[in-house]
């Protein structure tokens, strides 16, 4: 066991009921992620990428085995502790952005800070800083419906990064974007990873994302078939 690992997964199995039978989504997963990694879990649809990301994100629990995230076993967390862990240490980036349509850009990015009960002045400062990272300070009053797909995903990144989490989990972040926007987004995330030493874990099958990864974990039928370091 790597003691410096932020995430440590041991013999993890995840099954889902399918009628009278069970479907095994993840089987015997053993993985560790350290601080500052820019890694991706890659594989075809149905290979278990999102399930693994959900378990790391404390949104789901393993059926067997253990997943420790920042020293806490996901299986042992009650809903309040899991929410607390997500609130303080995890950021999420979704394929469909999941921005709240009735909120402005500023309000969307501000939301995680409200949950952390950060005072208003400090909150404003942090939101503006985060929007500056993604180059959207001129759009703070816009609503998601007024933004392009690329801009929406940048808002989503700003929302994930605003509290400077230790880990950002990105599920197919470029699936709805064109090549140009995908590269802009990935460059932004790569810069943030280098500047803030935030661990990024992607679930993707997009080649555009894969070329940015420094570590590629390939999943097939719920099993890790390769774990390779691509760049130094």
């Amino acid at each position: 066991m790597n003691n410096s690992a932020l995430i440590h997964i041991t013999d993890l199995v995840k099954t889902f009921p399918m009628g009278k039978r069970e479907f095994t989504a993840l089987k015997d997963i053993n993985l560790s992620f350290s601080a500052g990694e820019f890694s991706g879990i890659v594989g075809p649809s149905g290979s278990g990428k999102t399930t693994l990301l959900n378990i790391i994100g404390t949104l789901d629990v393993p059926t067997k085995g253990d997943a420790r995230v920042i020293g806490r076993s996901v299986s042992d967390l009650n809903s309040k502790d899991a929410a607390d862990l997500r609130n303080k240490h995890l950021g999420f980036i979704f394929q469909t952005y999941n921005l709240l349509q009735v909120y402005t850009v500023f309000e969307n990015v501000e939301l995680p800070l409200l949950l952390l009960k950060i005072p208003s002045e400090k909150r404003r400062e942090m939101v503006l800083q985060s929007l500056e990272w993604v180059g959207l300070t001129d759009k703070i009053k816009s609503r998601p419906a007024q933004l392009s797909g690329g801009e929406c995903q940048r808002v989503s990144i700003a929302r994930a990064m605003v509290k400077s989490p230790q880990i950002v989990l990105a599920d197919e972040p470029t699936a709805n974007l064109d090549a140009k926007n995908s590269h802009t987004i990935l460059q932004t995330m790569e810069n943030l990873n280098r500047e803030l030493n935030t661990t990024f874990i992607f679930a993707t099958h997009d080649e555009k994302v894969i070329q940015y990864l420094r570590r590629k974990i390939s999943l097939e039928d719920g099993q890790v078939v390769r774990d390779e370091t691509i760049k130094g």
């Binding site: 959900n54 949104l59 929410a83 999420f92 469909t96 949950l115």
Partner: protein, 391 residues
């Protein structure tokens, strides 16, 4: 909770038209419920005031055998007034009324009536008894507007009345209608003919006798009279109280219908929200909210409709209700014939208790209705909610 309030406010303001439609419907409920209850309160207050001022004063003493619901008892329900009682009458503390059965023949038709004798100089009740002061030989009589209308009588008309005196002898006389009064208290009017007390006592061979004694509201009487029973406001206003209670039941039905309509809108919005905003629910959870916190947020959001509705109702309802309270609500002419104490114009009476009570009821009901659909959130799988997968 402050976070839930803040986010709920943002969500509601962000939802714009959907929010304001619900708020408007709910505000209508506020205004109509308060208005309707105000009308009932106003009616109740006016009816009590009129009945006290015109009929029952500070309470009544009834001769021991008197029963207003038993016409057969009238024959024996009278008694001579004691010296002490006569003194109280002279001091303006009491006024006697003698009641007997009689028959009136307006335009040759037979009409059973209650003949009531009252002192023309009394000042205890507002009945215009001074109109019965007569200086010629006619027996002056006055009737209420409803009675006059039903019997086609007008001022100056003579009408024959027939009665049976204390000895059982029938007698008849013509009385002159000297005044037709207008009163909201129907029991003074319908089927009643008022004549001077002394004339009535003489006609009935019941000198110095009376059936009831009305006490003065301000001075009161306070003592007890042997053979007479004191009836207080609570008993004497029973009919009005029961009528208002009956109307209130009807009012509650109206209240429930109105509330149901408003709550249906809120419930519908909440149920739709839970289904349509699953991705939002999942996102909140991913960002660090517990399912319980999301339930609180959605419940507060639903309940906040009633807070906004109360504010909106205050903005347009306050001037509207204040205007209504100043001009009143004119009753249709036919209500005169209903036989109940009701003014031509009812002035609604609103109290702080009524407004606060209604607000509290609407707020609690809205909160419960808002909470019920949100329980579904606790059964949602966050991983499916994030994807907006219908669960």
């Amino acid at each position: 909770m402050s976070l839930a309030l803040k986010l709920a406010y943002r969500n509601l303001m962000g939802a714009k038209l959907r929010t304001w439609l619900n708020v408007f419907v709910l505000s209508l409920s506020f205004v109509v419920i308060i208005w309707q209850k105000g009308i009932l309160n106003g009616w109740d207050q006016q009816a009590r005031r009129d009945t006290i001022n015109w009929e029952i004063g500070g309470g009544q003493y009834w001769q021991g055998d008197y029963d207003p619901y038993d016409p057969f008892a009238l024959e024996g329900s009278h008694a001579r007034l004691s010296v002490a009682t006569e003194r109280a009458i002279a001091e303006g503390k009491l006024t006697p009324i003698l009641i007997s059965q009689a028959t009136m023949y307006p335009e040759g038709r037979i009409q059973n009536i209650l003949l009531k004798g009252i002192d023309p100089n009394q000042k205890i009740i507002e009945l215009p008894s001074w109109e019965l002061i007569s200086e010629n030989g006619d027996i002056p009589a006055m009737i209420g507007k409803r009675n006059a209308k039903n019997n086609h009588l007008k001022m100056g008309d003579y009408v024959t009345i027939r009665w049976r005196d204390a000895n059982g002898t029938f007698d008849a006389v013509e009385v002159k209608i000297v005044h037709i009064f207008k009163s909201n208290v129907a029991t003074l009017d319908m089927g009643v003919l008022w004549i001077p007390l002394q004339k009535h006592q003489k006609m009935m061979q019941m000198d110095g006798e009376a059936t009831i004694l009305v006490t003065d509201q301000k001075i009161g009487f306070g003592g007890s009279i042997v053979g007479w029973e004191f009836k207080d406001h609570y008993l004497l206003l029973t009919e009005i109280r029961e009528m208002i209670e009956m109307k209130s039941v009807g009012g509650y039905v109206f209240f429930v219908i109105l509330m149901s309509l408003a709550m249906l809108a809120i419930f519908d919005t909440q149920v739709l929200s839970i289904f349509r905003r699953q991705k939002e629910i999942g996102t909140h959870i991913a960002l660090g909210m517990t399912q319980k916190q999301v339930i609180v947020l959605f419940t507060v959001e639903g309940a906040a409709h009633s807070v906004l509705a109360a504010i909106l109702a205050g903005i347009y309802g306050f001037p509207l209700l204040a205007y209504q309270a100043s001009v009143g609500w004119a009753m249709p002419g036919s209500t005169d014939d209903f036989g109940m104490t009701i003014a031509e114009t009812i002035f609604p009476a609103y109290s702080i208790g009524l407004v606060l009570g209604t607000t509290l009821i609407v707020l609690i009901t809205t909160t419960i209705v808002s909470y019920l659909p949100t329980r579904r959130i606790s059964k949602m799988k966050p991983t499916d909610a994030i994807r907006g997968k219908i669960q």
